[in-house]
């Protein structure tokens, strides 16, 4: 068995399983009597990154920064406006539904509110069996066996099979969603605020479960959350989004210990911590998130950035590599003059 260190080593050398290049998703804003398009919400605005086989990439950002849209576009639950999506080196951006079907098996998503995403009229057995029916040719007995083993994997009892979602607590329902997502042995799972609605003690149970499953099945996660502590706990690398753009992405340690982007720095400094002896210096940001339909010119963060200077208003900073897999999009770093 490989030690944790060895595993991490091989991981960095490993192939990427998902790759996105300059990905964009604009939603039209309709207005007037003719319902013409009068503008666009740039929910995802030119995002590039890759996710390596077996790793967890965390995506953080405030509400409205485009995290969920990004997840949905990668899974092709939404069409992209521009850019490319690769899954295992295959460009899936333009694949139609039929061609996507075999690939869909490998990609699953778990949402925030397990109640809203589970059909309340179906029993737990039917819910977990559904993806097996659609995606596999397992016999009835095989399906039943698989359902039982999945329930066990996520820590529910086989006798829970015949119950309905409303008979479970939030944490248990989240386990059911996870069982459903795992039913057809996906390779890649997107968790979109998957633990955000849960109380901390229950959240910890689900996070531990997700870590165990990753180990057992070699899963790759894209873990989307607004909670930076949770993301730190579960991720290998972390990307920070602001107004549809990726402003920084780096291995976890680098993001949390040496954040480069002024936004990442402010975000981290704003998190209240339970260490009552720590003297924290909060970098206060002025104002609110601007509207994604009308983002500031140049650097989208400049209206709140304490370091903003002239160039920030005219030129959009691109992600540049600062070494050791640490990328940042900010003019403070793009020319060392």
């Amino acid at each position: 068995m490989a030690t944790v260190e060895e595993k991490k080593m091989t991981q960095t050398e490993q192939e990427s399983i998902v790759k996105v290049e300059n990905l964009k998703k604009y939603f039209p804003i309709k207005g007037g009597i003719l319902k013409r398009t009068i503008g666009h919400v740039k929910a995802v605005d030119g995002v590039t990154f890759d996710i390596k086989q077996g790793e967890t990439l965390g995506i953080v950002g405030e509400s409205g920064s485009g995290k969920s849209t990004l997840g949905r576009v990668i899974l092709k639950l939404l069409d992209s406006t521009e850019g490319n999506i690769f899954f295992e080196d295959q460009d899936i951006t333009k694949l139609n539904n039929k061609k996507m079907r075999p690939i869909r098996r490998d990609m699953q998503i778990v949402f925030q509110d397990p109640f809203a995403s589970l059909n309340t009229k179906m029993s737990i057995e039917q819910l977990i069996e559904e993806p097996l029916l659609i995606q596999t040719d397992l016999s009835k007995d095989e399906r039943k066996e698989k359902v039982n083993s999945l329930l066990k994997v996520v820590g529910l009892r086989p006798s829970d099979r015949l119950k309905y979602p409303h008979e479970f607590s939030g944490g248990q329902r989240q386990r059911i969603s996870i069982a459903r997502a795992l039913a057809i042995n996906p390779k890649f799972v997107i968790a979109d605020e998957a633990v955000s609605a849960l109380d901390v003690s229950i959240q910890a149970q689900v996070l531990n479960l997700m870590a165990d499953l990753q180990e057992e099945f070699g899963l790759t996660y894209l873990f989307i959350s607004h909670d930076l502590s949770v993301v730190k706990h579960i991720s290998d690398r972390v990307g920070v989004m602001y107004l549809g753009r990726l402003v920084e992405i780096a291995p976890k340690k680098a993001i949390y210990e040496e954040p480069l982007h002024p936004y990442t720095q402010a975000l981290l400094s704003s998190i209240p911590d339970t260490d009552v002896d720590r003297e924290r210096e909060v970098i206060k940001l002025e104002g609110d998130l601007p509207s994604p339909s009308n983002p500031p010119s140049g650097c989208a963060f400049r209206t709140r950035c304490p370091m903003a200077h002239e160039r920030c208003a005219v030129e959009r900073p691109e992600l540049i590599h600062k070494g050791d897999g640490h990328y940042v999009a900010c003019h403070l770093y793009d020319d060392e003059a």
């Binding site: 405030e62 509400s63 607590s169 944490g171 248990q172 109380d199 901390v200 003690s201 229950i202 959240q203 910890a204 149970q205 996070l207 531990n208 870590a211 607004h226 930076l228 502590s229 949770v230 730190k232 706990h233 949390y256 402010a266 975000l267 981290l268 704003s270 998190i271 209240p272 911590d273 339970t274 260490d275 009552v276 720590r278 924290r280 909060v282 206060k284 940001l285 609110d288 998130l289």
Partner: protein, 319 residues
């Protein structure tokens, strides 16, 4: 404010009784921030709604006293209580949109309160409302006065709520999850604002939250609630460094931190039992890793470890 032996029960259809708040004692002094923490269903919100006497059927305050500046709020008539709610106690909720009236402008809603409770005329109320809006951080307060709630972002709405809440300079401000719906950078702004207002007006602040980080950062004293009861009370530093109750310790261990590297999070097994079927004995016994025989027999009392730290657990009752 001094709450003693507060009991608020819900009488459910099937003869069951949900003891949502059961024997809660709670004191908040002027200029002090007291945090009430607990997971969902622990009874935090029902405690604050009881203080405001906003409990509706099938719920009922069945026992206790709630004294504010010497008068027992539970003895007041509805009319007197309405006056108290505007003047002496104000409340801020998690979702300001539900508390703000969507069809009136922000300025209108603040002026209304001032005219009703402070007997100001229209002009005075307008001037004061604009002052208040400036105070809570609206740079263009004159414009904001004429804006409607939907034109504001979540953080701005919460600021507007705070302006309304402090308009009558209440003695006690109750904030129920005031920042839960907000992003962290905005959360920091709002909590700072509440603290600043607390100091300016020498209010007592009761902060209700599930977020231990917020508690660690902003509270003076902390009460931990579980199953409708206070299970531990201590000054903030002592609670975070020497928590005694197994529930409090469990909560802290299950919390990931941005400053720590934890391989695996601690968990508390099981879930919060519903308020109509608490286990016999200690209400935490169904989840407690230290449960002993007597824990399943009877519920421990809240005992005083010293003048500022109390805990409800049999591990500490023996001498």
């Amino acid at each position: 404010m001094d709450v003693k032996d507060l009991k608020t029960y819900f009488y459910l259809d099937d003869q069951k009784v949900a003891r949502a708040v059961d024997d809660v004692d709670l004191t908040v002094n002027a200029g002090e921030t007291v945090a009430l923490v607990g997971e969902s269903g622990s009874g935090k919100s029902i405690t604050s709604l009881s203080i405001m006497q906003l409990i509706n059927k099938p719920g009922k305050i069945v026992d206790g006293t709630i004294s504010l500046l010497g008068q027992n709020l539970l003895n007041l008539s509805d009319k007197q209580m309405t006056k108290v709610r505007g003047n002496d106690v104000a409340m801020i909720f998690q979702e300001p949109m539900t508390a703000l009236n969507p069809v009136y402008t922000i300025g209108n809603q603040i002026s209304e309160v001032l005219r009703k409770h402070k007997k100001m005329n229209k002009k005075q109320a307008r001037r004061r409302a604009i002052e208040l809006l400036k105070m809570v951080g609206f740079p263009r307060a004159e414009d904001t006065f004429d804006e409607y709630p939907h034109q504001l972002s979540g953080g701005m709405r919460q600021r507007a709520m705070i302006a309304i809440a402090i308009s009558c300079e209440p003695k006690l401000l109750i904030a129920d999850e005031p920042t839960t719906a907000l992003d962290v950078t905005i959360q920091a702004q709002i909590i700072d604002l509440m603290n600043e207002m607390k100091e300016k007006l020498d209010m007592a602040l009761l902060l209700i939250t599930h977020d231990l980080g917020v508690v660690a950062e902003y509270a003076d004293r902390v009460l931990v609630m579980y199953g409708g009861q206070i299970v531990e009370e201590a000054p903030k530093k002592r609670l975070f460094k020497e928590s005694k109750h197994p529930y409090t310790s469990g909560l802290m261990e299950s919390l990931p931190s941005i400053y720590k590297e934890e391989e695996r999070l601690g968990t508390i097994r099981g879930t919060v039992p519903p308020a109509h079927s608490f286990p016999k004995g200690c209400r935490f016994s169904s989840r407690c890793p230290h449960a002993m025989d007597q824990c399943f027999e009877s519920n421990p009392d809240l005992i005083q470890l010293d003048h500022e730290h109390s805990v409800r657990c049999y591990l500490y009752t023996d001498e």
